[in-house]
């Protein structure tokens, strides 16, 4: 379980600022609980501090107040079994697909042949075994995405954080990637937190959807539970490609999207940029 307790995050105002003591708030007093073994989504407009929350859970930045607990332990620095997939995938251009996927093992000091042996099944599972010697620059967006997932899985995580993982994919690749993620989740015990600006994506993937609002600072303001997704994650149902694709056309799904959209609008005034104030 991942728990945010009154989490607040701020940043120095401009890296070249003379008055470096001045800070800009990114997130304020946000609390949430992400259930173990499920997929949770944080949805919000751009600039609402979603990425900051991912960084705080990953231990890449320390909150200005409040705390993050992963499996009951407060997060202080990077945690061994937390994997993060960044928006632009964070693949190293100078490593091959295999080298990128094996990077967590290399950082642990695992030897070359042992790395090979352990990476191979992961590449097989993700349909990447034929591309082991390719460099990322030769791959499509969807394949880079899969390499990033392969790298995350190689580190045998219990928590997977994904920051806008599908936002740069075209619609069909995106849906395939979402099915793929559900498949990955079904095959292993893994807590997944997905940050997205897409209402549809959050509603389709997550058992619990957390809606963020505001900007500088943003705050987690509402939670929607989607038990249907919980059972879909564990037991494929229906007759879609993965058994659950029909959820997208279910009335319940459309209601959910509408409710999330209403929550994002916050009922309050919308500013010039179309963002809730």
């Amino acid at each position: 379980m991942v728990e945010l307790r009154e989490l607040a995050i701020d940043y120095p105002a401009g890296s070249n600022s003379y008055r470096s003591s001045e800070r800009v708030p990114a997130v304020s007093g946000s609390s949430a609980t992400f259930a173990t073994g499920g997929i949770s989504a944080i949805v919000g407009p751009s600039g609402c501090g979603k990425t900051s929350i991912v960084h705080a859970i990953a231990g890449l930045l320390s909150p200005s107040s409040g705390e993050v607990l992963v499996e009951g332990e407060p997060v202080r620095g990077v945690r061994r079994r937390t994997a993060v997939i960044f928006q632009d995938y964070g693949l190293l251009p100078w490593l091959t697909v295999e080298g990128n996927a094996a990077l967590p093992l290399a950082l642990d000091g695992v030897g070359r042949s042992e790395r090979r042996r352990r990476v191979r099944p992961v590449l097989d599972e993700l349909g990447l075994s034929a591309f082991g010697r390719f460099y990322p620059s030769g791959l499509s967006g969807g394949m880079k995405q899969r390499v990033a997932i392969a790298r995350a899985l190689t580190s045998e995580p219990d928590l997977l954080l994904m920051d806008e993982p599908f936002s740069s994919l075209d619609a069909l690749t995106r849906e395939a990637a979402q099915e793929f993620l559900l498949g990955v989740r079904r095959s292993r015990p893994l807590t997944i937190v997905v940050v997205t600006h897409s209402i549809e994506e959050a509603a389709y993937l997550a058992e619990s959807v957390f809606v963020m609002g505001g900007r500088n600072p943003g705050v987690i303001k509402e939670r929607f539970d989607v038990p249907e997704n919980g059972s879909a994650i564990r037991f494929p149902i229906g007759d879609g490609p993965s058994g659950i694709a029909d959820f997208r056309s279910a009335p319940r799904y459309l209601e959910l999207c509408a409710a999330i959209r209403a929550s994002l609008r916050g009922g309050g005034p919308i500013d010039d940029a179309g963002e809730p104030r």
Binding site: A83, W94, L103
Partner: protein, 254 residues
């Protein structure tokens, strides 16, 4: 006919060389002055100088000066520059050095270097090394600042240490830039070496050229100039090969 890229490049360099030699031959014939001998006479002199080992000795002296200057300056400059680009504390010391050293024409230091380090090999190597050092320092610093933050974060999230980040992210990310600036500074280095070799030495292509000039042996002088160009070309090709070996992801073609 499709040639592999390496051969294609070599072929285009050869064609350019033929073009230059043709222009040279035309100019020499049109001018008909002793100070511009044609390519044929120059290559004859070149062959003669190679046969008696004279050219080889001087070319080797020049090449080894450039080599040692590179060997001594590249790694320290790259390490210092990369560290400065990533650490504000290191940059506090390196930045002033960059601002003072880089814009200064290093050739102007030649008299000082000769006075301090004497007339021997050391002063020539130091002068050339200084040029390479400041060029590499600047581009290493700028390049390591440009490493995308998300790349650093993504590797940091895997539990990488600072040393891991330096060796697995910062160095490979800056490597292509470093090789490019090495290429640029090699051109300057060979030019400055020429000047340094006209002072207080009896070895090196610079000496050969100026000595031939003084003896009014124009064909020999041009042979020296050709040899100096070939030396520059050789270093250029060496950097190209190094880039191919060290940065294989750059030459990737789908």
């Amino acid at each position: 006919m499709r040639l592999p890229p390496g051969l294609r490049k070599a072929a285009s360099v050869a064609i350019a060389a033929v073009g230059i030699v043709a222009v040279w031959a035309l100019a020499a014939a049109a001018l008909g002055k002793p100070f511009l001998p044609g390519p044929l006479r120059t290559f004859e002199a070149f062959g003669a100088l190679i046969r008696d080992g004279y050219l080889g000795r001087h070319a080797l002296a020049s090449a080894s000066r450039v080599f040692w200057a590179l060997a001594a300056s590249f790694v320290p400059a790259a390490a210092l520059g990369l560290a400065a680009g990533r650490s504000r504390r290191v940059d506090t010391f390196v930045s002033p050095l960059v601002y003072i050293l880089h814009p200064l024409p290093k050739v102007a230091f030649l008299p000082i270097i000769l006075l301090v380090f004497g007339l021997g090999e050391a002063s020539k190597i130091i002068l050339v090394g200084l040029i390479v050092f400041s060029q590499i320092l600047v581009s290493a610093r700028d390049s390591s600042r440009r490493v995308p933050g998300q790349l650093m974060d993504s590797v940091r999230s895997l539990g990488a240490s600072r040393l891991d980040l330096a060796l697995r992210v910062v160095v490979p990310s800056a490597l292509p830039d470093l090789l490019t600036s090495l290429r640029v500074s090699l051109g300057t280095a060979v030019a400055v070496l020429f000047l340094a070799e006209t002072f207080a030495t009896e070895t090196g292509l610079g000496y050969l050229i100026v000595d031939a000039w003084a003896r009014v042996a124009y064909a020999e002088m041009y042979a020296g100039i050709v040899a100096l160009s070939l030396l520059g070309l050789g270093f250029f090709v060496a950097v190209d090969i190094a880039e191919r070996l060290l940065c294989p992801w750059r030459s990737y073609r789908p």
